[in-house]
């Protein structure tokens, strides 16, 4: 009952005229970011963090969550019409969405996308409200040993699942963790890898590095390839059908649960939520031969899965300070910038804030429903703007976004260097998401490893013998072993 009262208070505080305006504007911005191929939810949140730095914390998080939800929702438009997912999370929906568009049912596909996204988000919001306090209560028993493994697990899982090659993903995760070590160390304030410069003593700021990794690197990727002309066919009725909800309610519930579960897993994210939901829907469907050829059930599963993974990814960010995805990592960093400290103590010190986030996610869901009903056709023009026009504008925004947080020219250099390094590595198939997770979690991994060793006086056994630490350690070891071909062959032979 206490939670309902908190939620009511949060909703009442978020229904002012300015808050509604912020929510609508931010969701629309998120949808446009999602529609533009290459611009991701992570970049959108990072850029908007710089714009919202002077806002009240709740208003700023309202804007950022709306951009997050809007971007994941908007990306399916591009997938349906151009067969290019707007964000990685929309790749699964593209399979059937574009197939439907080729049959002249692009509008129907967009309607399903709206239904699935709204249903998934609502399911996720329910889980966010109920699971965050429970997880935070469990996490109150965590010590340095558990937090060390949990953060490391996040980086390794992100490396395993977000790219095509786990080894490359893990290396990127380690690079992110290392980058977070630059500057004054968190225990003794001793300078590490600063080469005697004042600028590096402050560390590599997260937002400029993220803007470089997701923004500048993407600008270079897009501009280095010749533009393809967008061919947009006529669009039929875009209105979502309520009958779809009743017809596919089992798929919606299953996909919502899978999306939330995948979202909660540290560092995995919305794209895996969509793929896992899609695979499960295909397995249990009576019309599985239609999957990939324009299946409404497949499209519904993918869109429900990726959108329910958003609140899912916010749950561990709030309760454990270990984000469930790359966009949630930036959102968590923005919370810290605004003076909110996520983690198990959040529910003890500022429980109202956790319910503010629940209410904000609910409002963002209502906004995508509104825009799904009235703004689909007008937003199509975004797809017609040639990319050589968009990308230079995006680069100017990246430069400003990197500079604006601290008004330091050095941060522009951070953005440029990170962008070039990530561009070169991406060209060789190294994924960027584990780097982001590493950058966000580097401080947690470092401090908790050293704290744990100090508590145990150098004895490693508590890292393995405490029940939860042992479980997390086993998961970390299994995550690595499961990707070694010789181990997989051995397991296959035994089973």
């Amino acid at each position: 009952m206490e939670g309902v009262a908190f939620l009511g208070k949060s909703l009442a505080g978020l229904l002012g005229p300015w808050q509604i305006l912020y929510a609508l504007g931010a969701t629309l911005t998120g949808i446009v970011i999602g529609i533009l191929p290459g611009l991701s939810a992570t970049l959108g949140i990072a850029l908007m963090t710089t714009l919202t730095v002077k806002m009240a914390p709740t208003d700023a998080i309202l804007v950022l969550v709306c951009v997050y939800v809007g971007a994941i929702y908007g990306g399916s438009r591009t997938g349906i019409l151009l067969n290019i997912p707007g964000t990685a999370a929309n790749a699964a929906a593209t399979l059937d969405g574009h197939a439907l568009a080729r049959k002249g049912q692009a509008g129907r596909a967009m309607g399903i996308s709206t239904t699935g996204s709204v249903a998934g988000s609502l399911f996720g919001v329910l889980c966010l409200a109920t699971l965050t306090p429970l997880l935070a209560e469990v996490a109150l028993k965590f010590q340095a040993f558990e937090f060390f493994w949990l953060a490391l697990l996040g980086v390794l899982m992100s490396g395993s699942l977000t790219g095509n090659d786990p080894l490359k993903g893990w290396l990127m995760g380690f690079l992110g963790l290392f980058t977070a070590q630059v500057g004054l160390d968190g225990i003794h304030a001793h300078p590490r890898f600063t080469f005697g410069t004042n600028e590096l003593s402050g560390g590599i700021a997260l937002i400029p590095a993220l803007v470089g990794a997701f923004g500048f690197a993407e600008v270079l990727m897009v501009l280095s390839e010749p533009a393809k002309k967008a061919m947009i066919n006529a669009v039929d009725s875009i209105l979502p059908r309520i009958s779809d909800v009743f017809r596919y309610w089992k798929t919606i519930l299953r996909s919502g649960a899978i999306g939330v579960f995948i979202g909660i897993l540290p560092g995995v994210g919305e794209d895996m939520g969509a793929w896992a939901s899609y695979a499960a829907a295909k397995r249990f469907s009576s019309e599985r031969e239609q999957f990939g050829k324009g299946s409404i059930e497949g499209m519904m599963a993918a869109e429900t899965g990726d959108n329910s993974a958003i609140p899912g990814a916010i749950i561990p960010a709030l309760a454990l300070a270990v984000p469930g995805s790359a966009p949630a990592a930036v959102l968590m960093a923005a919370m810290i910038i605004h003076g909110v400290q996520p983690g198990p103590m959040l529910m003890v010190n500022t429980p109202q804030f956790a319910y503010d986030v629940v209410a904000i996610t609910l409002i963002a869901t209502l906004c995508i429903l509104l825009f799904g009903l009235v703004m689909v056709r007008p937003l199509m023009w975004v797809l017609r703007v040639p990319r050589p026009i968009i990308m230079p504008i995006v680069f100017v925004l990246c430069t400003l976004g990197a500079y604006a947080i601290a008004a330091r020219v050095f941060d522009i250099w951070v953005m440029l260097v990170t962008g070039v390094v990530c561009f070169i590595l991406r060209r060789q198939g190294f994924p960027v998401a584990p780097f982001v997770l590493g950058l966000v979690l580097g401080d947690i991994v470092d401090k908790n490893l050293r704290r744990g060793l100090v508590i145990s006086d150098g004895d490693l056994s508590p890292f393995f013998t405490r029940p939860m630490a042992g479980l997390l350690a086993a998961l970390v070891i299994l995550t690595v072993l499961a990707q070694i071909p010789a181990v997989r062959r051995l397991v296959a032979r035994v089973t």
Binding site: T50, L51, T52, V53, K54, G163, N164, D165, L167, K168, W170, L171, F174, L175, L177, F178, Q181, D185, I187, H188, H190, R192, F193, F216, V219, L220, M221, L223, S224, E225, P226, A227, P386, P388, I389, M391, P392, I393, F395, V396, T399, L400, A404, A407, V409, I412, M415, L416, V420, R426, R427, G429, V445, D446, L449, R450, L453, V454, D457, G458
Partner: protein, 155 residues
């Protein structure tokens, strides 16, 4: 360069970087003069990461090439032009006294025009005029939104 040889090269690159991190961490001050607990030495975590990068980098270098395809295959001419324009704007022009709207408009005009022409559009006055209009309007809107609405200082 073939995928397998590129992967081997990158693998050795990672291992070399990891080794440099490991050596630098080992040589980092352990603050013994401050009587700190030796397990809280600042070089511990970077050292572990350096060792992991050596191990996994070598694994990347010696294993069979993966089936994962490198992302994108853009031309080096376009990449070089994008890099030069972006660095001139962000590192060369910003913060040297010129108004932000002017430098950003100039950058956007040149970049939009250059890449539209490279994408096959004929260089005519209409293309130049539309590119200039987009660049100037975008520069003014961005400057206004950041500086006046969100109270952000411009470089």
């Amino acid at each position: 360069m073939q995928a397998s040889s590129a992967e081997r090269l990158y693998g050795f690159g990672w291992a070399l970087f990891g080794a440099a991190v490991l050596v630098a961490s080992w040589r980092m001050d352990r603050l013994e003069s401050l009587n700190i607990n030796p397990w809280s030495a600042p070089g511990l975590m970077p050292g572990v990461l350096g060792a992991l990068m050596v191990l996994f980098g070598l694994a990347l270098a010696v294993r069979a090439p993966s089936e994962a395809q490198p992302e994108g295959a853009g031309s080096w001419r376009r990449t070089a032009l994008a890099l030069v324009l972006c660095f001139i704007f962000a590192a060369g022009l910003l913060g040297h006294g010129l108004p932000f709207w002017l430098t950003s408009a100039a950058f956007m005009l040149i970049a939009i025009l250059a890449f539209r022409v490279m994408d096959g559009e004929a260089l005519r006055w209409r293309l130049a005029a539309s590119s200039a209009a987009i660049a100037i309007v975008a520069a003014l809107v961005i400057s206004h939104v950041f500086e006046d609405l969100f109270l952000v200082r411009l470089p």
